[in-house]
């Protein structure tokens, strides 16, 4: 499903600054993500990718600037926002003393989602038979990840925030995850993926932004994307915002290159070219 340009963005950050004590997590992020869009957030460790997702989920408030999720403040209107948002983070949010099925059931019911989808979601993620009755404390890291994904699949939120979603998964689960992301986007859900594993994510994403030092420093469209993205202006951070990490690597493309161009609507996915061949032009904004 192509994002409707006339609709308000699902996710909107304007000069968003988030702090942990006095340490800047986000240093003035400007970003908009439309309905049905799949956005890849890339950047080095400590660039602010996880913080961006946590701000979008309403777990971290912004110290200044504006954040809107579905047009709502994710902190002040958190109960309305959170039931529409699914965050797959580094933690799996599981209770060790509960079984796999009990964990999924609790998380899905707590989110007010349809409990009737639990069995199908577990089956899709390979959580069947004895595994369903296994205590979460006995699961491997990859299995815990699959349980977290099963919760997401059963909830099927409108905004998916995925932090390194492919980490620790086996090949078949990665394929399943990619299918889920594609289906989510096709069904109109918005997906934001923070990842270092470009070879898995770039074919799924319509747009990529690069974060360095808590800021979005570059943006590009991905020609191979299934869903074409509306071009989203990315502006320089406001004066006075915390300085980006000076040790972070500089963008590889010279400054002054042209802004990102959207892939024409209706374009077909590219063939099995290498991820770098799928890239669109890079826009430097900081």
């Amino acid at each position: 499903m192509a994002p409707a340009a006339s609709l308000p963005p699902v996710l909107s950050l304007h000069d968003a600054v988030a702090l942990s004590g006095r340490f800047p997590l986000l240093a003035g992020v400007d970003l908009e993500v439309g309905r049905g869009e799949t956005l890849l957030v890339e950047g080095p460790n400590g660039a602010g990718k996880t913080s961006l997702l946590r701000v979008c989920a309403g777990l971290v408030p912004v110290a200044s600037g504006e954040v809107a999720v579905f047009g709502l403040d994710p902190v002040r209107r958190r109960s309305q926002v959170r039931r529409r948002v699914g965050l797959l983070s580094h933690a799996s949010h599981l209770y060790d003393d509960l079984t796999v099925r009990e964990n999924v059931r609790f998380s899905v019911r707590a989110a007010g989602a349809d409990a009737g989808r639990i069995d199908g979601a577990c089956e899709r993620l390979g959580l069947t038979g004895r595994l369903l009755k296994t205590s979460a404390s006995k699961l491997s890291a990859g299995q815990r990840r699959r349980v977290a994904l099963a919760v997401l699949a059963a909830r099927w939120p409108e905004l998916w925030l995925l932090d390194e979603p492919h980490a620790g998964l086996d090949a078949s689960t990665r394929t399943t995850l990619n299918e889920m992301i594609g289906e989510a986007s096709s069904s109109g859900a918005t997906v934001v993926i923070a990842s270092h594993e470009f070879e898995f994510v770039e074919p799924l994403a319509s747009r990529a932004v690069t974060m360095i030092g808590g800021r979005v420093t570059a943006e590009r469209t991905l020609r191979g994307a299934i869903i074409p993205a509306p071009s989203s202006p990315v502006t320089a951070p406001a004066e006075g915002a915390p300085a980006p990490d000076a040790s972070a690597p500089a963008p590889s493309t010279p400054a002054g290159s042209t802004p990102a161009q959207s892939t024409p609507a209706g374009s077909t996915p590219a063939g099995p070219a290498s991820p770098r061949q799928l890239e669109g032009p890079v826009a430097h904004v900081a």
Partner: protein, 223 residues
């Protein structure tokens, strides 16, 4: 709110049923504490019986600290607290659910400790309903205030030491009222004395349940 209360209480009680921390660790700790009090008081049974009400409630307070720490710690593993926040559960329902689960565990612990007081100290209870009422009201207050202060200390690395420091002074009215009610129940024939203290417990419960419903959400978000 009530749906969330039942959901969270059911989850916490299921975790307790699996781990059996309250029964296998906290209850024995309480009984050991009662035995140590008995050693400290000496072999005079009348002295022990006289001190039984206060010692019972001191043991209950110690057990409450452990039960609350356990309630907080199950949410500290694998980002479970963030999972609860992200679920969009009603904070009031979350507070009540966790309080109900703690209260259920405390009632079981109090039954064990009550038997311990009768057996070890030779306490004779003349007005049983006063004891039951004091345990029900005292437990509700301890669970509410404990859950509230447990959430306050949840995000801190020093929560194990901070929680008793915060909780025990705040729970002092429960200790005082509970002890007076037990004394009245053991003396027999003066339930009116006990009923005044029961009213104090009811007020304590109302204040902390209402406070928890209102402030648990903001506390959870800032922890």
């Amino acid at each position: 709110m009530w749906r969330d209360t039942v959901l969270v209480a059911g989850k916490d009680l299921r975790i307790e049923a699996r781990s059996r921390v309250a029964l296998s660790q906290v209850a024995p700790f309480g009984v050991v504490a009662l035995a140590l009090f008995a050693f400290a008081l000496g072999p005079d049974r009348s002295t022990m019986a006289k001190g039984a009400p206060g010692l019972f409630w001191v043991a209950v307070l110690f057990c409450t600290v452990l039960a609350i720490q356990r309630s907080v710690s199950v949410e500290s593993v694998d980002g479970a607290r963030d999972g609860l926040r992200l679920s969009g559960l009603d904070p009031a329902g979350l507070f009540l659910g966790k309080s109900v689960a703690v209260a259920a565990q405390l009632l079981v612990l109090e039954a064990v400790l009550g038997i311990g007081v009768v057996v070890l100290y030779g306490a004779r209870i003349e007005v049983p309903w006063l004891v039951v009422a004091s345990c029900l009201l005292g437990t509700a207050g301890l669970a509410a205030v404990g859950t509230l202060y447990g959430a306050l200390s949840a995000g801190l690395r020093v929560r194990e030491t901070l929680l008793p420091f915060l909780l025990l002074p705040i729970a002092a009215p429960v200790l005082l009222a509970g002890t007076r009610i037990w004394q009245a129940a053991m003396a027999g024939g003066v339930p009116a004395d006990g009923s005044q203290w029961l009213r104090l417990l009811a007020v304590f419960d109302a204040v902390y349940v209402a406070l928890g419903i209102v402030v648990y959400g903001p506390i959870q978000e800032s922890a």
